[in-house]
């Protein structure tokens, strides 16, 4: 049995690409440590925020991929009911989850560290709105594109959305921090 078979090479290549995205996100975190990580409660918010972006966009891409393979979604049309419905659902989900994340971070910082930081809730909401504007349309366009080019979006979109999602989430948090 060949240990370094096609499977091994495919996973390695996809992971390397994803790691580049994660490293960019990590570098942004490191460069803006003083501005971002030193805000009380921010370390409680960030992991959930990054997770949420990947989860929502990943499932969006997976649903669209299934629709494409079943022939229910036309890869050449973007303005369809199915795509609009999926985008709207992703938008509502991210706002609700961001609100929950902000509330959890605020509550934990207040009760455990005695830090009153209501800005965390607003920052989470604004950052969720911004990251959604970047990530969801990108997930739709790239899923349709990869499918049209003959690739299986199931194999590509997972690492792609998590990596791009991490970068866009950190950028969105930085913008939200400036706004708030």
């Amino acid at each position: 049995m060949d240990f370094m078979d096609r499977n091994f090479k495919e996973i390695f290549a996809a992971q390397l690409l994803a790691i580049i995205g994660f490293l960019v996100a990590g570098s942004l975190l490191a460069f803006y440590t003083e501005k971002l990580l030193l805000i009380p409660g921010m370390l409680i918010l960030i992991p959930g925020f990054l997770e949420m972006r990947g989860n929502i966009s990943g499932t969006l891409a997976a649903r669209l991929s299934s629709g494409l393979f079943l022939g229910v979604i036309d890869p050449t049309k973007r303005k369809t009911r199915a795509i609009h419905g999926n985008l709207l659902a992703s938008f509502i989900l991210s706002i609700v989850v961001c609100l929950a994340l902000g509330l959890i971070a605020f509550a934990l910082s207040f009760f455990l560290f005695k830090v009153y930081m209501p800005k965390l809730i607003l920052m989470s909401l604004i950052a969720g709105f911004i990251s959604n504007l970047i990530e969801s349309p990108l997930a739709v366009v790239s899923t349709l594109y990869f499918y049209r080019k003959g690739h299986d979006p199931h194999n590509i979109m997972g690492p792609f959305v998590t990596a791009v999602g991490d970068v866009s989430s950190i950028i969105a948090l930085l913008i939200a921090m400036v706004i708030v």
Binding site: Q15, A18, I19, S27, N55, S66, G85, S109
Partner: protein, 231 residues
């Protein structure tokens, strides 16, 4: 066709118990695949797509957020130490994302093997499973080490030079974190996969949220413990 739509409408309002009886009947009578019927039930022309998605996803998304926030809480406790180790801040999203991706690969491939009937009884004697797990273990260590080297290089370039002691500590933390979490993921994905499959459920639907949540919480708690012990 009208009859088909009537059946589809009935199907839409059926509560999921074990199997949808109409899916089986429609599949047999019209030869439409069960996957297509299921997709049309959920996202068909008469379905409220946003409502369906929100209703089914919100609970698990909120649970994942709570779990991740508790993982973040452990980091908040060691914030003063963590912010002084720049390579580890760079590695934070890398380790979470990378190990999460391996969890997804393991879960989905193990589920597929269960569906294909390749695993019967003792999974650990199946050569393809052993090969897959060995491949993922090796890949996780290689990509973990490459990430650590890249994080140290980025840290150095950005004006935070590292000593050989710091580099070896970071490498040690990454390797230990990767080995422990991949081991836990293997145990969870196989035992939970076999359990859900024996209950006639699709393991894909349960294993991926379970493994990503374990990765998130486990990685952050483990990192916090290792940072406290080593630095």
């Amino acid at each position: 066709m009208r009859l088909f739509h009537q059946h589809l409408q009935k199907l839409k309002f059926l509560e999921r118990k074990k199997h949808h009886p109409l899916v089986h009947q429609l599949h047999k009578k019209y030869g439409i695949s069960k996957k297509t019927l299921f997709y049309m039930k959920e996202y068909g022309p008469h379905a409220n797509i946003p409502r369906t998605i929100i209703r089914e996803s919100l609970g698990i998304l909120l649970l994942a957020s709570v779990i991740s926030s508790f993982g973040g809480l452990s980091l908040e406790y060691i914030k003063s130490t963590l912010v002084s180790i720049i390579p580890l801040i760079i590695l934070l999203p890398v380790l979470n994302g990378m190990i999460g991706n391996y969890g997804i690969i393991m879960s989905s491939k193990f589920s597929t093997m269960l569906h294909e009937g390749k695993i019967k009884g003792r999974w650990w004697v199946v050569s393809s499973i052993r090969k897959l797990f060995m491949q993922i273990f090796v890949l996780a260590i290689i990509t973990g080490l490459l990430s650590a080297i890249a994080a140290l290089a980025i840290s150095s370039i950005s004006g935070h030079p590292f000593t050989s002691m710091l580099a070896s500590k970071v490498m040690f933390i990454v390797i230990l974190d990767v080995i422990l979490l991949i081991g836990i993921l293997m145990l969870v994905s196989t035992s939970a996969g076999v359990y859900f499959f024996s209950k006639e459920e699709d393991p894909n639907n349960f294993l991926i949220p379970i493994t990503t949540s374990i990765t998130d919480l486990g990685n952050m708690v483990l990192l916090s413990v290792l940072i406290v012990l080593i630095f």
